[in-house]
Symmetry: C2
Subunit: 314 residues, 2 copies
């Protein structure tokens, strides 16, 4: 394998690819994949051989495939939570690679929920691991090949730039944490600054600045932001500070966020907001009494229709 | 494998185990393992079969083992940078597991340089992946079994608490980013707050508060901090704000930090500061002309003696 095996840079910026995908699939729903080995769907324990890690990873893979097959048609992307796969060691990483391939075969984008952040050389290695490819003496090595990756901006611009450079080479995008959905988000992100504004607003300004060179014809940028759906009072301000960023909106459902409150996310267009839902889809059967796949499909479709209406201002 | 396979909680707090290890080995040096497949030591390409990822991972493993064998005797711990292993996919994670095992066999502690941070359930999964064990229907599954893990505190206390809880169950420790060694660290960490102080000082206060219940007889806590050696002007203040925290001090060597400037880290005792060195050890031969292993051993020993003198106030 020679260097010529590395694909040439994409001719379409990522945000336009995302915009087209959202319009074509008429969905802003991101299916969160957070598989808990103790709460997999029935019928997933199909692997009778191997170590604990191998059996758990095999079952997690069957579970994720079934969830994608059931709820995927109502979604635009899946979002595997890397923690859940890392917890299963080497076989877990293998399952993650197969989950990504399965989602891509189902015409879904993949958001690697990794929340990585590190100094330049390490950030570059993470970026290549998750959305790019690395050179080795034995040839080029494609990584996880996700379409977007979540990143942590605490270490500043130079920790994000390698992700952005890699994303632009690969035709992918990044989503930086700006205002997260957890209660503790306030501890640091809400601190008031001497110069005015709060820490999260400074993170938003950083996202906006770094995204300027990645804006496509859709008006959206390849540098997006994670803005929790649990703090909708911040959404309008976040949109003001980041007019071109794609917002990934976690926290709907189990964490208490409501789709009806997310309208400001869609100001730049239908792909301005991506609504992540995980437990509310995967565990829908626990409240409806339906079979897991039926309940997941119905809940994803309900969220899809609701989000579409909110994004259209209906 | 039943639940009884889970070890009972340790009777010694992690910080005391670390303190004993530093005193016994007379070393505060942490050997950073950041293997770049294009810059491995000669003689590491021993694997003639398999995919690009498998051959790269096999060579990375041979390189890391050789580096540990050469420089490990002068060190107290190794610090694998997870990005470098993730970049090699599933075989990379396998190599990481073997590197951890090799370091433990060499009587070295392992600091998983992961910089993870996420909401509660995901933080718990990461913690179990890296320093703990998870329950599955097929039995308990031990993760990477590192002794410490680096974590990112941007998401607040509730994103750190699952790491701390898991660390205390497992007899491990955590190291939260407080003031990192990269130039961009200033972008967010140095922002001045309306209530006085800077963002990094608030992170330091959080580390200090969360570490109160994990202080051992050594006077050190199981909640430590990453404080870059490239900004030594902050060290005295960091020590004031976190009197019981173990400091991981990256940035010596390639990034420009100097051991001579790190004295405040050692105020609570010899294990108060752990000095991470990666490229300066692994690439020492590029300036000395020695064989890689000889040069690495000599540079690690030089740093060990220097750090010991600084920690003793000599």
């Amino acid at each position: 394998v020679s260097a010529s095996a590395i694909p040439s840079p994409p001719t379409i910026v990522f945000a336009d690819r995302l915009d087209a995908q959202v319009r074509r699939r008429e969905s802003q729903i991101v299916l969160g994949l957070d598989p808990d080995p103790t709460a997999l769907w029935p019928g997933t324990d199909t692997e009778r051989r191997g170590s604990v890690a191998e059996r758990a990873a095999a079952s997690v893979l069957v579970h994720c495939r079934a969830l994608i097959d059931a709820a995927g048609p109502a979604c635009v992307a899946v979002k595997p939570q890397l923690a859940r796969f890392e917890a299963l060691g080497t076989p877990g990483w293998g399952a993650l690679e197969e989950v990504v391939a399965h989602a891509h075969q189902a015409d879904l984008l993949v958001i690697a929920d990794a929340k990585r952040g590190d100094i330049d050389v390490s950030a570059r290695a993470y970026a290549r691991a998750l959305i790019g490819a690395i050179d080795t003496p034995w040839g080029s090595l494609c990584g996880l090949a996700a379409d977007m990756v979540t990143v942590n901006p605490l270490m500043g611009a130079d920790a994000l730039e390698p992700f952005i450079a890699t994303a632009r080479e690969a035709g992918a995008g990044i989503l930086a944490l700006v205002r997260t959905s957890n209660p503790g988000a306030a501890d640091i992100q809400e601190l008031e600054l001497a110069g005015g504004g709060r820490v999260w607003e400074r993170l938003a300004a950083l996202v906006n600045r770094l995204g300027r060179d990645g804006v496509g014809e859709s008006g959206l940028s390849d540098v997006g932001a994670v803005v929790g759906a649990t703090a909708p009072e911040h959404l309008a301000r976040a949109r003001e500070l980041m007019p071109r960023a794609v917002f990934l909106l976690p926290g709907v459902g189990a964490q208490g966020g409501r789709v009806e409150h997310l309208a400001p996310a869609f100001a730049p267009g239908p792909a301005g907001g991506l609504i992540a839902a995980s437990r509310s889809i995967a565990c829908a059967h626990s409240t409806t009494g339906q079979k897991p796949a039926e309940a997941a499909r119905a809940e994803a479709e309900r969220l899809r229709e609701l989000a579409l209406r909110v994004s259209q201002g209906i």
